[in-house]
Amino acid sequence: MISASLLTEFQNLLGKDNVLVSESDRHAYSYDAAVLDAVVPELVLRPTNSEQLGKTVALCNENKLPMTVRGAGTNLSGGTIPTKEHGVVILTNGLNKILEINEQDLYAVVQPGVVTAKFAAEVARRGLFYPPDPGSQAVSTLGGNVSENAGGLRGLKYGVTKDYVMGVNFWNAEGEYVKSGGKTVKCVTGLNIAQLMVGSEGTLGVFDEIILKLVPPPVASKAMLAEFDDINKASETVAAIIANKIVPCTLELLDNATINYVEDFTKAGLPCDAAAILLIEVDGGHIALVEDDAEKVVEICKKHGARRVQMAKDAAEKNKLWEARRNALPALARARPTTVLEDATVPRSQIPAMIKAINDIAAKYKLQIGTFGHAGDGNLHPTILTDKRDKEEFHRVEQAVDEIFDVALSLGGTLSGEHGIGTAKSKWLEKETSKATIIYSRRLKKAVDPNYLLNPGKIIGG
């Protein structure tokens, strides 16, 4: 239990309005976007400057309070929900300043609570580009993106969040300030702690400032939709495009089930009889090169069995094509009360095998599963449509998820392309890595967080 005197100490430090104590206030921090059970935090603390953040962490450590750091709570693997009794949630949405955008040296310094889309828009206003674009970018925070190593639609060409993190300054578990990385393109000083922090899901420190790399934006792009009667041919096309030395910025696949759900929802005129569609966008620094790439992609699609390729003529047509992709999750989410969005990722060549396995699993467990995702980087989102109140069906969902991840691993894939491990997938971690990896990770955790207070229970359990 948190004592009255400690509560007063937090209130004096942060102000009463930034210490949430009522049951109704705290309950609203016991979930994120993953469908998982959680513990209600005993306090929710909202620092609004760096000093307050450091002192908050130090006070929690002194009093042995488990800390779960939370931005917008859009996490899909349970990384932002408390798992221990008598813990606190530290909210970062009060630390939401863009501290610097350096247009000469192409970097930005941000606080962790900056909303991703706002940051991307501010950067774009200055003629620069921050490519990571997670689906939740309208609300997700940069701190959360770095913690989870978030991805997005542009991952194939532009990579994920880790490819843009130049430095992370953070408070360690004991409330000491740690600096890692820097503002230079080349910076190889010391251990590469900054990259260790990326994807650490709040288990190794509490972010205070993040230094992000910016790049020049593409000046031209072309988008198209290719229809296939055979999903294997769609997957072969994905591999063939890359083999032809063309790296689209986006290469998305929707399976037949997803196409039909989207068409039911949007009436956009999608080919409901197609086994799969690919949505492809190429971009670059010169219109002639982009057009050349786009034509080559059309040829490759046709050569590999596309029955039709529709090239967007202008921005309006391009937008219409992307509507299909944007509506994939909303369309699936409306079909049944509960939506379990998974994140199985395999090597590109294994996409047909993975999709076949998902469809077999759906049939075996009598479940509705729509699959879409970033085919270009092998990152698929099998989406299970269910009703969590139906205990028997939900048990089948859990079994199906287990099998999906088993298959992904057996095909040389990974547990997470962009959603993180959290509590949802920690049980498979050893299977993907090794026992030694878990032991090494736990030793590392113990060394930097001796009281095991930073987001306990996540990734490596404990």
Partner: protein, 429 residues
Amino acid sequence: MHEDLHQLAKMLHELDDQMVACMKCGMCQAVCPVFSETMKEGDVARGKIALLENLSHEMIADAEGVQDKLNKCLLCGSCAANCPSGVKVLDIFFKARVIVNTYMGLSATKKAIFQGLLTKPALFNSVLDVASKFQGVFTKTANEVIGSSCSRINAPVIGERHFMPLAKKPLRKLEPALNTRPGKGGYRVAFFPGCVIDKIYPQVGQAVLKVLRHHELGIYMPAGQACCGIPALASGDKESFDKLVKCNLEIFEKENFDYLLTACATCTATIHELWPMMSGDKTESMQERIAALAAKTMDVNQFMVDVLKVAAPVQGHGTKVTYHDPCHLKKSMKVFEQPRALLKSNPKVEFVEMSEADRCCGCGGSFNLQHYGLSKDIGKIKRDNIVASGAQVVATGCPACMMQISDMLSQHGDKIAVKHVMEIYAETL
């Protein structure tokens, strides 16, 4: 008390089918005006739904806390309009407010206003007629361009507000009941002015009638109309809401007409959407009667453009006019092109779009009374966007938004007039 809570939980559990659709993605945070000010999870739709779920499963004993959170909402519908899962957030919130507020009890003031006054239209009108005569004793003009007033004395209800005074003569006295046959316009329409147009903006009602007469439509505007019921429903007073629905239904059923028009976005959305939504406990025939009137109800801007097809765009010069999208028109009724088309049909108007035109103005009916500080913070953003547009006039389609925007502009000393779209369209005739 425990038994009571169990009963409350049981009632809330009936909303479970709607609540379970929320996948807790958090996208409502991007558009919620209240969350953008407070940044607290309990103030956004996802948080409120999680609290209601917990209350319905008796995992939370803090019913009062849930009530507070539930009432701290503008009911603007931005979350529902932006929800990937299509969660019917307003359905949930209105029904939950009725359940939770009935359980917690209505405050004495609300009881007096809704049950004692609002449900008795004749008495309500007389009280406000008297108030109109004496308001000058306590108030003074604040901004002549806007026509707003402020308090001369320290009055807690008014506070620092710059409010629109009650009209010297309400619409029902300026334009007594009408019941005319259609001319060349062909259609016969009923007109429901609503409380705010009747008592504060009769000139808006007059503009609507001028337009309807110009287009030679038959008009049915009966005497004895009651409030549409939204203030009572938003406070969870279903009993008063039902009385008001019944009163209006009986009056409008006396005659035949093609459309029931209103110039108040809130009244339109209430009659069109909320009347049928809240009629589940009525007899089948009553439900049918409500549904029939709801189906005929249409915003007057939409009627002019979609039915009469009157708005031919012209290259306007002169007064710069911008437009604020009332939530009840854009987010509930998907009406946003028609009012712009009407404004663009006035040759003396140069239409300019403001940024975030569909961002809520922060009024939210009784939200403005209970959370004025928040309402004002949200309204300040609207004011800044209006000023930045460079407009001399801000037009909108909801008298409640007009009041809130007037307050915000007036308090900043802005010389920007606030008008209803129909006033500007009427000038072209």
